[in-house]
């Protein structure tokens, strides 16, 4: 009886020693790795070019901002689907989604809008009418979003609406901070430097 017990203990010790050695030599994954879910990776699919557009956008200001957008709705909970309860408070729950987005808004002058009649040159002096500044892009890419809370089932279309709301809020805030005025003044400065470099002594912006 004692011999059998000693034999089992010896086998257990050898097994434990083998497992420890195998882990040390990286033959076995760590315990945390075993229970860690594997990251989902996308396949390498081709990229198709749909359009090529010619631009002349002088981006003079970029504003970086962080926005929070949320949405909520009252929905029937799963419990009420199984057991129809008379009390509406117990039968319903609030679904909520809160997204945090870190993006940027670019603004500047579209030089494509300069017409021949907007430029007047006389010897070494030039008069140029620059177009009004405008917002070019409000960039909030998928990697710029963080889901703070997602309670309940939200369809991709509903999440897209929340993201559009976040982008609109970011753009409005940036415009309120006077990004267009800064874009205009910086645009004039950039053009002034360029025109001075190209040999003009007197430069006038209309």
């Amino acid at each position: 009886m004692l011999k059998i017990l000693i034999r089992y203990i010896a086998i257990a010790i050898v097994l434990i020693a083998f497992l420890i050695l195998a882990r040390k030599l990286n033959w076995l994954p760590s315990w945390s790795d075993i229970f860690k879910s594997k990251p989902v990776k996308i396949e390498n699919t081709p990229i198709l070019v749909k359009e090529i557009n010619e631009l002349s956008q002088l981006t003079t200001v970029t504003a970086f901002d962080e926005v929070v957008a949320d949405s909520f709705r009252v929905s029937q909970n799963n419990f009420s689907k199984i057991l129809p309860l008379p009390m509406p408070v117990l039968a319903s729950s609030v679904d909520r989604i809160v997204l945090v987005g870190k993006g940027r808004v670019t603004a500047g002058i579209d030089l494509k809008k300069i017409k021949d009649s907007d430029i007047h040159v006389e010897k070494d002096s030039i008069s140029i009418k620059l177009p009004q500044p405008e917002i070019f892009d409000a960039i909030l890419n998928p990697s710029d979003f963080e889901t703070f809370t997602e309670e309940g089932e939200w369809t991709p279309e509903a999440v897209t609406l929340v993201k559009i709301k976040a982008r609109q809020e970011m753009t409005d805030r940036v415009i309120q901070q006077g990004i267009l005025n800064r874009a205009a003044s910086k645009g004039r400065q950039v053009m002034l430097n360029f025109l001075t470099g190209t040999g003009f002594k007197k430069i006038h912006f209309e």
């Binding site: 990776k41 996308i42 090529i52 010619e54 631009l55 300069i114 998928p142 910086k186 950039v190 190209t198």
Partner: protein, 237 residues
Amino acid sequence: MAEFVFFSASLRWRDPPWRIVPCFAHIWRAPPAAGRAKFHIQMLNCNMFPRILLVSILIFCCQACGKKNLEQKQEILAIKEMSDLATVEYVVTKIIRASDDKTWYKFGDRKILMSCKASLKAGIDFSKISESDISIFGKEISLQLPHARLLSLNIRPEDLKVEYQDIGLLRTEFSSQERDQLAAQAQKQIEGSAEALGILQTSENNAALFITNLLRQMGYEKVNVSFGTQSNQPHLN
């Protein structure tokens, strides 16, 4: 008749109200000297308490408004001035295909198929054109422009669509965060293949064309545009 007594005092802008309030009748500001704003204060020997109270309230209100404006200005994280001339935009599409069946303890698998449209903009940095890059001989001008680079990549939320999902009986649907993580991988793949799409070369061609036309409008008859020797690697700000 009220009796006037004149004196002048040197006060800091941030001095507490009790230093300046008790003797206000009329205030005018002299030009600042050595970082200090000088106030000339005219003192009136009469019962001024209601006016003093009114001026104190006004000062506190102004200070409060100043703080509020400062807080509003801090809302935006950063504003960066730049001089990038975007000369081309590529609109590209990509199918995002993923299968979540690698984790051994999750029974059943789930698959997703999404489509995305991205806009890539490339151009040149106008601020890198220095006077040494420009040479003028009468009506002939030569410019050396910096090489084009990728300026922005924009995947608008509405351009990302879930086309198909296959969710196993024991699995939950892909959450918003999981879908964003998959789209972020696609974003990286698009960014990485920007050069292979030829966007930088197209951008340089367009930049040369634009600058040539602009300088011809300004009266130059011959325009030579070349590009610098800096590395031609796509990178985003």
